[in-house]
């Protein structure tokens, strides 16, 4: 019992180490979600550590959203859709899908994404997300359409950003980019960016996936009574009940879709009315991108079942495409949904792109490990030369390393991806750790032998004042970077602070105990 009470610090350190080793190596604690998790990152590694892009390879894209917003708009009792159409009509190059009117910063229709967000816009807003529309143009359009507004500004609303994040997540999952993440980040200046990370993907494929709005509509293109061809949107994204995966059939690649029951009768009727569902089939079009409309043909079989009304019982058809990759794209876009606003990759937008090839990532992983080990060896050599006493120096090196093990265990436990900046944090921790251990060692061993526990305690407390003060300054120095979400140095700051906290509370006191048991004469 006495031994436990005396050595509780050492025991605490051992407990922490065991937990960390468990977090690092236990297969039960692997990445939570095999679909989105580290089946890529964990490749060829025996630990549960996840690696960030710099160490595993992949692409990171950070870009703002295209759009301008008018706030405090008075809709004058008009319906949301009416407002959108009126405003769109006044702006060149913007269709109704490029204009979003929101009541109180939310869509009027109750969509599952319309969570009220604290601090988000509370006034009614109109956003235009077409490219190249200025705030002045939006203002002019609102004036022309007869809606009062308070202000116009660059950027989109919080709700739109959240929708974009959700839809991009869907897109990345649908496209099978495992481990990809999407998040919203805000800079210190209050600018908002969307941050997309995709391991093992090259920059162009990621950019292509996330840069398209991905609006899919089924339009009917038919001769009206006056003989001119008319274009009507007959089905939109939300009208589909389920969307199959892209298939390559005998008649070419296609995406099987089911129209939801509530819309099916209406669609069937309009197909009959427009005369599209005539004997022998006819043309329909689908649109994957506002600028490109792809024609597709209605097969005779489908036309027949539409005319007889059989189709309404089982509202299924196949969206034909020209090639397989297009079918996949349509399928992804239909499942994930259309982006309300698109990412701005232009040069003046303030975005960043980085791509690290998987081989570079792997090299960095090995090389930074070697660099770290060599730095630790240098530290060990210096303290051995300085103290010429293995009993002092060996526990010092072991304690400093155990801090890194605990931090690695923590990173594995919460699934924090290791990046070069985190490794820099580890180096900072070893550095301050060894400094503190030298202070403890010198203080405890000052002026000859320690002949009682009381003397040891008093010296240890003195040493601790300095260590605590130094730790507090380091934490204060790092905290601005840890709080601001600018990514690149955040990992460094977080792990330095964490290491200092673990060091001061757990590992460095334990070193004191180890040193005491090795040097105290009267125990």
């Amino acid at each position: 019992m006495v031994a436990i009470r005396d050595n509780w610090r050492v025991i605490l350190l051992v407990v922490f180490l065991l937990i960390s080793v468990f977090a690092l190596f236990s297969p039960t604690l692997g990445p939570d979600d095999p679909d989105s998790g580290g089946d890529v990152a964990a490749q060829g590694s025996a630990t549960n550590l996840q690696y960030g892009l710099e160490l595993s390879g992949g692409t990171r894209v950070r870009a703002p959203l295209v759009g301008v917003t008018a706030e405090g708009v008075d809709f004058g009792g008009d319906d949301r859709r009416v407002v959108e159409q009126e405003v769109a009509a006044e702006i060149d190059g913007a269709g109704p899908t490029d204009v979003i009117a929101r009541f109180g910063g939310q869509p009027a229709e109750s969509q599952e994404t319309a969570q009220p967000q604290p601090g988000s816009e509370t006034s009614d807003t109109v956003e235009v997300t077409a490219e190249g529309v200025s705030t002045d143009e939006l203002a002019a359009a609102l004036d022309a359409a007869g809606y009062d507004y308070e202000t116009t500004r660059e950027g989109v609303t919080e709700t739109t950003r959240q929708e974009v994040v959700r839809i991009l997540e869907n897109k990345i999952n649908e496209a099978g980019l495992s481990g990809g993440t999407v998040q919203e980040v805000t800079t210190a200046q209050g600018d908002n960016f969307i941050l997309v990370e995709a391991p093992n993907q090259d920059a162009s494929s990621v950019r292509q996936l996330v840069s398209e709005r991905g609006t899919v509509v089924i339009e009917a293109y038919y001769p009206a009574s006056d003989g001119n061809y008319t274009r009507d949107t007959v089905l939109q994204q939300e009208d589909f009940q389920s969307i199959g995966t892209a298939q390559d059939g005998s008649s070419g690649p296609y995406v099987p879709v089911t129209v939801s029951e509530s819309v099916a009768p209406e669609f069937q009727q309009s197909m009959r009315d427009t005369g599209l569902a005539q004997q022998g089939g006819t043309r329909c079009t689908y649109q994957a991108d506002p600028s490109s409309t792809e024609p597709c043909l209605m097969s005779p079989g489908l036309a027949d079942s539409l005319r007889t009304g059989e189709w309404g019982e089982n509202p299924v058809f196949q969206l034909q495409t020209t090639n397989v990759s297009e079918a996949q794209e349509v399928s992804i876009n239909l499942r994930a949904g259309a982006l309300p606003a698109q990412l701005d990759f232009s040069e003046e937008s303030g975005g960043t792109t980085s791509f690290i090839s998987p081989s570079q990532g792997a090299d960095f992983r090995t090389n930074s490990l070697i660099t770290g080990i060599i730095a630790v060896l240098a530290v060990s050599a210096t303290v051995f030369v300085r103290y010429k006493d293995v009993r002092v120096a060996a526990p010092m090196v072991v304690t400093a390393l155990s801090e890194v093990v605990i931090l690695l265990g923590f990173a594995a436990g919460i699934g924090y991806p290791l990046d070069l900046s985190v490794i820099a944090g580890f180096i900072a921790v070893i550095g301050t750790g060894v400094d503190d251990l030298i202070i403890i060692a010198d203080e405890v061993m000052a002026e000859g032998e320690i002949n009682s526990r009381r003397v040891f305690q008093s010296r240890f407390r003195k040493a601790f004042w300095v260590i605590g003060a130094a730790a507090a300054t380091t934490i204060i120095a790092m905290s601005p970077l840890a709080i601001l979400s600018l990514g690149d140095l955040q990992g460094f700051a977080i792990f330095t602070i964490l290491g200092v906290v673990v060091g001061v509370l757990v590992t460095r006191p334990a070193y004191g105990d180890i040193l005491r048991s090795l040097t105290t004469i009267d125990r």
């Binding site: 990759f345 003046e348 960043t352 210096t382 010198d442 601005p480």
Partner: protein
């Protein structure tokens, strides 16, 4: 076997003025360099693409350096701002002032180059990062100063710590200008680390002299023995890390290492000359009064 003992310096041979003169002169020269740099280039320190915006492409090319550079220049339409090679690996780091990442990636692939990494930062984002980094550094420094004053509650010893921490940051910045090292996220991280490291040995010295009983010179020697060991250990580790990371082409770690080496050497000088002379002046003037 190498001997590593901290020598006992006979401080009584030097006056406070003599001791403080050297670090203050070094600090003044450093500030002059930075001010001169500002006048000549419009910025106090050379900034990397993380702050100015631009694109960095790393490609792997086998073969002699001259031929590789020729190949690189032929591949890209835009004129590279700089081409650096990574020793020990056939990797070249090419930076461009402007030009989209997509365009450069396409050009590199068309030319059949093995692209290792591309990173592109737009100018406005770089400006944001710069504000953040400088703001972070300023807040960190201010926070550290306040904490030091709160801990010692006497002016002279506290200001001594703050001045030497300031000098520990400014001197490496001036050296970075002279040696052509750009301010990057890594060097900003290193400057932040320096605040922590620098304060370590200063607090140790202040603590030994102010809060312990005993002769001034004896306290100083004890503090020095510990403090110099600490700093030399860190310097050794950082020199080794800088060399290894440079060979491997891990720029972030190399940048951190080199700046820390500069800062820690400056810290040795500042702590045991500037800080010590201020403390001695404070201690003996206080006693005489």
């Amino acid at each position: 076997m190498v001997e590593f003992t901290v020598p006992e310096v006979d401080y009584t041979r030097y006056t406070n003025r003599q001791l403080a003169a050297i670090p203050l002169a070094v600090l003044a020269v450093a500030i002059l360099i930075i001010a001169g740099w500002f006048v000549m280039t419009g910025v106090p320190v050379n900034q990397g693409i993380a702050f100015t915006g631009g694109t960095e492409v790393q490609v792997a090319i086998d073969g002699p350096q001259a031929a590789a550079e020729e190949e690189i220049r032929a591949a890209f339409d835009a004129e590279p701002e700089s081409i650096r090679s990574v020793p020990a690996q056939n990797v070249y780091v090419i930076t461009f002032q402007s030009g989209g990442a997509a365009e450069l990636e396409r050009q590199a692939e068309d030319a059949g180059l093995d692209v290792r990494s591309i990173s592109s930062v737009s100018a406005s984002f770089g400006a944001d990062t710069q504000t953040l980094a400088l703001g972070g550094l300023a807040v960190a420094f201010l926070g550290m100063s306040l904490l030091v004053f709160a801990m010692f509650r006497v002016f002279v010893p506290s200001i001594a710590v703050v001045i030497s921490a300031f000098s520990d940051i400014v001197v490496p910045l001036a050296l970075m200008n002279l040696l052509g090292i750009e301010l990057s996220l890594g060097t900003v991280a290193a400057l932040l680390m320096l605040i922590g490291y620098s304060v370590d040995s200063d607090i140790l010295l202040n603590n030994h002299i102010l809060r312990r009983s005993g002769d001034f010179y004896e306290s100083t020697y004890r503090a020095m023995r510990t403090g110099v060991t600490m700093t030399l250990t860190s310097i050794t580790a950082m020199i080794v890390m800088t060399i290894t990371a440079t060979l491997f082409g891990i720029q972030l770690l190399a940048a951190i290492g080199i700046v820390l080496v500069f800062g820690l050497v400056t810290d040795l000088m500042n702590t045991y000359m500037l800080n010590l002379s201020l403390l001695r002046w404070y201690k003996f003037r206080g006693v005489a009064r």
